[in-house]
Structure formats: C-alpha cells, structure tokens
C-alpha cells in the first residue's frame, strides 16, 4: 500500500526542526531513517498529519567516543556504528546488538536514536540503552533535557518524548567488564521471540562481582534485572543457574502471539540468560 498524504517539512537546523515540531504538536512525527515509520505509513497503521524530515538537519550525524562511552547523533545510521572501530572498542555491546538488527540493507538507513524513540519492546537497542543505564537527549523550543533510560521507555512503542520534542542524541555508557547479546528468532533478522543482553564484571579470582541482564520481547519495555546477588559472588563455573534464571523469570511478563507462546518465551529467556552471562564472562 501507499503512505497516506501528509504535510512535509524539511528543516535544516535543530532550531528550525523544534520550531516546526512545536507548531504541529501531537500531529507531527519525526522522519529519520524511516525503516520503522515508513512501513507503518505504507500499511496505514500510522497517519500523521505532518512529517518532519530531519535528514537535512546539520550536526546530528556525529559519533563521539571517549572513555566514558559513546554518544550517537540522531542521524547516525546503524551501519555507521556497526563499522566504527572506536565505538566498538568503547562499548562492544553496540556492535553485538547491531548485528542482530534486521538486515544489513535496513541498517544502512535505520538510525540508532530512531530505534530508541520507536521503543519497540522486541528491539535490541532499547535493551542495550536500558542495560547500560544510558540516556536520550531531547530538544525543544524551551531547551534540552537528558532522560535516563529507566525513565525513557514508558510502554510498548511509547517513550518519554513529548509532542514538540526532537531526540537529538543518545549516550551509551562504557562498561568495565564483559558483555553479550543473544537472541532467538524464527528466521535470521526477524524480531526476536526472546533476547538477552548481559553485562558482567569479575574480580581477580574470576568471581562475579556484578551481573545484570536486559530482556527483549518479554514485557512492555526492556526488562532490566540485576542478578549480582543471585550469582552469589561465585566464579561463573559454579554459579547456581537455577536461581539466576528464576530471578529473571520472576520479573518478565511474556505474552503469547503467533510466533511463540508466553511459556516458550519464558523458557527461551531463561536459556539465554545463562548463555549470555557465561559468554559475557568469557573474555
């Protein structure tokens, strides 16, 4: 099908963009990579009266990396971060997750910040941001605010972005330890039936001193669970996985759909939690 008609705006600066967004309010939608939005338009699931195309906005294409983490501008494509050696060094979980986002051709257009604002509970990047305790910077005519991941994902396909606001960048903090993103999908590149991002830190004797996971497709938003206590300060080889898995399964709320039952998603999440933590510790 074809997209419904809309008024098109193509601002060239953040200032111009937020002015247009303020004017159109709740009737406006931001277009960046369009890899989630345009299918919704083509299928007539969404029909915004105004589309604000930010592809010509200057200053949103930067990847800034330092020891504290990676800041990604709103026009940075998935593929650009996937290819960035500096970004991968500062936060390896980004590349691990991006390899699982749709297909390479989609990643050439799709944007990191767009994925975050889209806030699909089955998507990888919201889980990465939530796991790492990152944040999203939102601009409006009245200034900027930085929203922590814990407050950003408010529900399925819902973020804290208000009408009139433009997400200009996202910050993925570094993690002093190992990470891994694993998921199970019916076909490679499809939405995951279950997925787990893990971040683990070990002491000199290889005992787990910190471990947390973020689960996708098993709740209205990424479900982050700190399993440090459940790991019991033991080395990975002697962790009691049953209690770690139970700690996570207590917190998730999987639902059934055509791809998998709720029980199956719960089972997969348990399997992936153990695998992802072991893999994250194996560095």
């Amino acid at each position: 099908m074809k997209p419904p008609p809309f008024d098109y705006h193509a601002p060239t600066s953040v200032r111009e963009a937020v002015e247009v967004l303020a004017e159109v309010g709740a009737h406006g939608k931001v277009l960046a990579g369009g890899q989630s939005l345009i299918p919704l338009l083509n299928m007539r699931i969404a029909a915004p009266a105004h589309l604000v195309d930010i592809n010509r906005v200057a200053g949103l294409g930067e990847i800034r990396t330092d020891a504290t983490g990676v800041r990604v501008g709103a026009l940075v494509r998935h593929a650009a971060v996937e290819r960035s050696a500096a970004a991968s060094l500062a936060q390896p979980l980004l590349r691990q997750a991006l390899k699982l986002v749709a297909h390479p051709v989609i990643r050439n257009r799709g944007t990191i910040v767009g994925s975050l604002v889209h806030a699909d509970p089955a998507a990888e990047l919201p889980a990465v941001l939530a796991l790492l305790g990152g944040s999203v910077r939102l601009a409006s005519t009245t200034g900027e605010r930085e929203v922590a991941a814990a407050d950003f994902f408010t529900g399925p396909m819902e973020s804290a972005t208000r009408p009139g606001e433009l997400a200009v960048s996202a910050f993925f903090p570094a993690w002093d330890g190992g990470t891994k993103f694993l998921e199970v999908a019916r076909r490679h590149g499809d939405y995951a039936m279950a997925g787990v991002a893990a971040a683990v830190r070990l002491d000199e004797d290889l005992r787990v001193t910190a471990a947390k996971v973020a689960c996708v497709s098993v709740g209205p938003a990424p479900v982050v669970v700190d399993v440090t206590a459940a790991c019991g300060g033991r080395p990975v080889a002697s962790v009691e996985w049953g209690s770690v898995v139970a700690a996570v399964q207590d917190r998730i709320e999987p639902e059934a759909d055509i791809h998998a039952t709720a029980d199956y998603r719960r089972h997969l999440t348990g399997v992936l939690v153990e695998r992802a933590i072991k893999a994250a510790a194996d560095v």
């Binding site: 074809k2 098109y8 369009g34 890899q35 051709v105 989609i106 050439n108 490679h188």
Partner: protein, 158 residues
Amino acid sequence: MYDITLIVNGVPREARVPARRLLSDCLRHDLGLTGTHVGCEHGVCGACTVLLDGEPVRSCLTFAVTVDGREITTVEGLATGGRLSPVQRAFAECHGLQCGFCTPGFLCTTTAFLRENPAPTDEEVLEGISGNLCRCTGYQNIVKSVHRAAELLAEEPS
C-alpha cells in the same frame, strides 16, 4: 508537490512528486524505470533494493523527496556499454534466477556487498543476502552466483 532531481544511473532526472511518493514508485512511475520491482512494500522482501550513493537501501522505505540531489543506481545502471556486469553474468551463468522478480534486488545487494567484501565466505554471503527473499530458487544457485560474481570481479577489476 515537490520538484526534485535525482542522479539516476549517472543521469540527472527531474520529477515533480508529492511528499508521500516512495522512491520505488518515483523510479517506476515518474521516471519509467520499471527494472526496480516492488514486492511487499514494507521492507521485508528486498525486491526494491537500489543503491543510494553506492549503498544498498530499500526504495520502498525511502521517500523520493528525502533523497533529492542524491545518486541512485538501479538494476538498469549495472551493465556498462551493453555488457552485463560481472554480477549479472554470474547470476545468468549459475542459474541464480527463475521468474526474475526478486533479481533486481539481489543484483543491487550483491553488487554493493562484493564491493565491501570481495572474497566472502559462505556464511558471509548468507548474511549479505539475508534481507532478500526468493520464492523460486531455494537460494542454492543464488549463493553460487554470488561466489561466481566474486571470481569474475577478481579476474577483471573495473
């Protein structure tokens, strides 16, 4: 309506389009380049894949107005001087197509893929073409075609 100019296969082409015109429809309906095929129109099948400034993208998930002034390569632009490109020849040689509907997307995807990875492994080929669906071939001959195209490209660097 918006007046846009796209550099299509090296030639500046002008079109007057509504903002909601998909790049795939602009190429086919406004510019008459029907080599780019439209399958699912929501980014799943890959038949509409074209090269935007050399990078493969879904033309059904791109608005023509967004890419005003940019360079587009479609399947019509792969051959040079009446001679099929190495990728096209490999697909013909290895029987990498049957009905041909998905072929323009595979050719564009493969052209860009081999530019970035001139000697891919089997696994890399599968990953590279994973976003393109074919309902005829069972993919075996498409995978062979991609490997053969890599050989042909290595033999005759352009």
